[in-house]
């Protein structure tokens, strides 16, 4: 085809539309930690459980729910959703109760929003949502750097619907720091007491006011019939929701998620995760290489909670650990340093390789926002 046959406006459109979604894992494809966790609803200031990049907050509620990565068969273009399923109802709502679902953005990735300037950009947030019945919830943008919020309601029905909400640019405040800390959070308000609902909903950007964050919402835990599924979450600059931008492949999404959390699990008998040296006949250290540079040096390490799920091979023998693996402060953005403890290593010299020896074992390196 001659070059003259290619429409220049199409080329321009394609260029503008690529990489427009600020949300990582908006199609809910990656769930490194697992696909389902029950009994959520206990107090949490923000904990990641299943689908990567999405965390749950809860305070003082008796409501309990399951969070899962669900399989979607009735929404063309999507294979997964993030699903919440109420398992214990709470209809006596104390003032300080809440249940929230959120995702966080690094401030340095939001500079194009021009927040806090006269040129501040509007954003449109779109997503597909489905419940068991009609409901109304709030989607808030929370500016961590300036303690400012904007909050808008959205409807849920028992069918998949695409919600699109446009938020104006915020010309006030000091903008977002060009750093690797939290800049903005998207917060889905699903249940709240009067401390968060007694004011008028703050539908324009304004200073943080707890009473104005969730006015007018229903409660996700008013009945054990309640379910909520969300997928195709997109936040983009502009006043129009464009089609959801899928990553090119699962590897792309996984790598984006691994900047914040990396989990290595059991993958058969040869599941060696690293090599290292020994300090003594009981103490060893292994350096776990990280597949992408993490947001920050990790400060915590998750594992299965059972020491015998981890072991070493060296001097011709396999041994299992006598304590659970522990993080070391010498971890960096590219390598996680891990302590392994044994009752007695075969030798206090030489190189050992370390492995996960049980299907329930895993190591989770955490540098989440």
């Amino acid at each position: 085809m001659a070059l003259s046959k290619i429409r220049s406006d199409s080329m321009a459109d394609a260029a503008i539309q690529s990489n427009r979604n600020f949300v990582i894992n908006g199609a809910m494809r990656v769930a490194q930690r697992g696909t389902s966790v029950t009994g959520l609803g206990t107090n949490s200031s923000g904990t990641y459980h299943t689908v990567d990049r999405f965390l749950v907050f809860a305070n003082n509620t008796a409501g309990r729910f399951t969070m899962s990565q669900s399989t979607v068969t009735d929404l063309p273009g999507f294979a997964n959703a993030l699903k919440l399923d109420c398992t214990t109802a709470d209809t006596s709502i104390a003032a300080d109760e809440y249940i929230l679902l959120g995702t966080r953005f690094e401030a340095q990735n939001l500079q194009s929003l021009k927040k806090g300037t006269s040129d501040a950009e509007p954003v449109t947030i779109s997503f597909y949502v489905k419940g068991n019945a009609n409901a109304t919830y709030v989607l808030e943008i929370f500016d961590n750097d300036n303690s400012r919020t904007i909050n808008k309601t959205f409807p849920v029905t028992s069918s998949w619907n695409r919600v699109s909400i446009t938020y104006p640019g915020d010309t006030a405040g000091s903008g977002l720091g060009d750093d690797n800390e939290i800049g903005l959070q998207l917060v889905f308000w699903l249940h709240a007491g009067s401390n968060s609902t007694s004011g008028s909903l703050q539908t324009s950007w304004g200073a943080y006011d707890q009473t104005k964050r969730a006015a007018g919402i229903s409660s996700f835990v008013d009945s054990t019939d309640r379910t909520l599924e969300i997928t195709g979450l997109q936040m983009e600059i502009g006043e129009v929701a464009t089609p959801f931008e899928h990553d090119a492949n699962i590897e792309t999404t996984l790598r984006k998620c691994q900047r914040y959390y990396y989990q290595v699990g059991y993958d058969g008998d040869n599941n060696y995760f690293g090599a290292g040296g020994v300090y003594s006949t009981t103490a060893a250290m292994v350096m776990l290489p990280l597949p992408v540079e993490m947001r920050a040096a990790p400060t915590s390490l998750y594992q299965s909670g059972t020491a015998s799920h981890y072991g070493s091979w060296g001097n011709g023998a396999t041994q299992v650990c006598s304590a659970v693996p522990a993080i070391r402060g010498s971890s960096s953005k590219t390598t996680c340093a891990i302590d392994l403890t044994f009752s007695s290593l075969n030798s206090a010299t030489g190189t050992y390789v370390y492995r996960i020896v049980d299907a329930s074992g895993y190591l989770g390196v955490h540098a989440e926002l």
Partner: protein, 66 residues
């Protein structure tokens, strides 16, 4: 769930552990870990003795919330 001191390693770093409701330790962390710090802030008036001792000795600091 609750936190306690797991050990002091060869680099003289204090490592903390989170014990879940079923008694298993699924998380180890450094003192600056945000989740641990949030727990410290939420429980600052009723901390376990080993952690309170670290704070009293000036060896552990509860950071302000973001």
């Amino acid at each position: 769930m609750s936190y306690s001191i797991m050990k002091t390693n060869e680099d003289n770093e204090v490592i903390y552990q989170r014990t879940d409701a079923d008694g298993l330790v699924r998380l180890t962390c450094l003192s600056v870990n945000p989740e641990f710090q949030a727990w410290l802030r939420a429980n600052k008036d009723s901390l376990p003795n080993d952690i309170q001792a670290k704070i009293d000795a000036g060896e552990l600091t509860i950071a302000d919330a973001d």
